[in-house]
Amino acid sequence: MTKVLLRVEGLKKYFPINKGVFNKQVGNVKAVDNVSFDVFEGETLGIVGESGCGKSTAGRLLMRLLEPTEGNIEFAGKKISELSNKEMRKARRDIQMIFQDPYASLNPRHTVGKILEEPLIVHGMGNSAERKKKVLELLQIVGLNEYHIKRYPHQFSGGQRQRIGIARALMTNPRLIIADEPVSALDVSIQAQVLNLMQKLQRELKLTYIFISHDLGVVRHISNRVGVMYLGKLVELTASEDLYAEPLHPYTQALLSSVPVPDPAFEREQLIISGDIPSASNPPSGCSFHTRCPFKKEECSTVIPKMQEVKPGHYVACHLYDEMQH
């Protein structure tokens, strides 16, 4: 059995809604609501969902860029949800993040050399010469050249900038990388280059990825296991092949059948769900998907379904599978 690198239990993040003259709290946006999962060493866990489902918030909570409202995060046996800010800073050496927009996440006034060196300075790693060597080494690993070191972010194309973002994340030899929509801003031909690079790095450096994306094709390609989120909750979690071959949750089924497939000869029964995603400040009672679900039962509008293991390694939160448990 592979080792659990990251364990998340009952993670919650509620953002308060304040209103009125006295800025009284009138409610909560339940951005992440009771999410639990494990990440195994060396795997890629994909997290998919539509906008507003809480997937990015979840990623930020794991890095403690946002403080969780409740819940436990355990990384390599250490409870990082209880660390002080100072201790957390040190822990971030092992957990790094790649962001979606390489324009916005690189300082336009710093050269690439400085951008890449900074994490090492922050974590007090190496002397000046060693740091320089490491910067050059990583530039080469991500497919950039030595002479790029003196250039500024605006002198690079989108794909190259994302390579810089990846290099920066790798500077401190992390064990876990949280990639939040790393290829969404890129064109298809460049997207393929970056995905291949990420896979190559994973093999060579034994990295563990949490790959957050809205693109099911990309997630399918890169992930070993996939978790599907809807309105702040994890609704299904299983091996990537199982999820695509046999999705169990009605939302996953709808999501998969909505994705356009690049093959005109491919015919399938489309399950187009009507309506929009409800607001996270006022989620539906019971199962949050029941307002759009074609297989709704009576209890769905009152009882919140629990995450249950329906088949080995295949977890789903849906009342349709309640009997299978017993």
Binding site: G159, D187, V188, S189, G217, S258, D263, P264, D276
Partner: protein, 346 residues
């Protein structure tokens, strides 16, 4: 063959900037036929959006200008019309929907006001009541519930999917013959995207409106279009019916593009990726614009610009691999190498 509704001939749109003249669209020809859905695919900077804006007469000028070619809609050449003449055509004969429905609706006016504006401009003699009735009718057509109430709402009160439906309603309100949709679903979530694509297919069938769908997503093209044009660096590199483009792509760029899309139905070991990046418009002056990234590039490719070769009646590709000379040369070399083998076997 169906009638040509809109014909673009040798269109050239150039941007005059401090860095010199940049040809964003360079000599493109295509036509949109009655009742069809034609797709234009390409990556950013390929000139697909500039093409659609040129047709609509919406190229920001300065710096942009249509510097050559014709855009024929029936008898009229849209490229030569004045702004005033163009206003009569825009929305009536050719209408357009944009990527971001929030920024293309006016936040200060209700949905009803904006819908009725389009009706009144093109039908000044209609009464208020008639215009309102038409607005309600079109809202129902695009599948918006409670049409009467929604007309009183402001754009920010609607969700992204509903806003895009309102945009489509506005575009259809005067029964245009051609609808240009520039990345209509890019800003939307997949489940909403599926709804909007379904709606566009319905409209195409029910009203027989021809649709020019511009997108970067090959999946969207496969699901909606009958014919596709692939653009690269301001040129058309391939044009074919939908089945041929996916089963028998001829241009190396199209082949690479199709291979580099992750397909969720099966896992590929590693994705094919086209090396390098899309060149900036105007940087490549000689030869094939894809040559630097092409795995089949020959010496000739960097010297001459390939024309659009006709492979079959509906299938064209801008690649020297289709040139008869090259085909002949390849055959010859096969024969020659065959002889070599013969000699060796003897």
């Amino acid at each position: 063959m169906r009638n040509k509704l809109l014909e673009v001939k040798g269109l050239e749109t150039t941007f005059f900037t401090d860095d010199g003249q940049i040809p964003a669209v360079d000599n493109i020809d295509f036509s949109v036929h009655e009742g069809e859905i034609l797709g234009i695919v390409g990556e950013s900077g390929s000139g697909k959006s500039v093409t659609s804006l040129s047709i609509m007469g919406l190229i920001p000028s300065p710096p942009g200008k249509i510097t050559g070619g014709q855009i024929l809609l029936g008898e009229k050449n849209l490229a030569k019309l004045t702004d005033k003449q163009m206003q009569k055509i825009r929305g009536k004969d050719v209408a357009m929907i944009f990527q971001e429905p929030m920024t293309s609706l006016n936040p200060l006016f209700t949905v009803g006001d904006q819908l009725k504006e389009a009706i009144v401009i093109h039908n000044p003699k209609w009464s208020k009541k008639k215009a309102f009735a038409r607005a309600v009718e079109i809202m129902k057509l695009v599948g918006l519930p409670r049409a009467e109430e929604l007309l009183k709402d402001y754009p920010h009160q609607l969700s992204g999917g509903m806003r895009q439906r309102v945009m489509i309603a506005m575009a259809l309100v005067c029964d245009p013959k051609v609808l240009i949709a520039d990345e209509p679903t890019t800003a939307l979530d997949v489940t909403i995207q599926a709804q909007i694509l379904q709606l566009m297919k319905d409209i195409n069938k029910r009203l027989n409106t021809a649709i020019l769908l511009i997108t970067h997503d090959l999946g969207v093209v496969a699901e909606t279009c009958e014919r596709v044009i692939v653009m690269y660096a301001g040129q058309i590199v391939e044009e074919a019916p939908i089945n041929e483009i996916f089963n028998k792509p001829l241009h190396p760029y199209t082949q690479g593009l199709i291979k580099s899309v992750p397909d969720m139905r099966f896992k590929k070991e590693s994705l094919y990726s086209i090396p390098g990046t899309v060149p900036k418009p105007g940087t490549i002056k000689e030869g094939c614009r894809f040559a630097a990234r092409c795995e089949f590039a020959m010496e000739r490719c960097t010297q001459e610009t390939p024309p659009l070769y006709v492979a079959s009646e509906q299938h064209k590709s801008r690649c020297f691999l289709l040139d008869e000379q090259e085909v002949a040369k390849r055959d010859e070399s096969v024969i020659e190498s065959g002889r070599v083998e013969e000699i060796f076997s003897n």
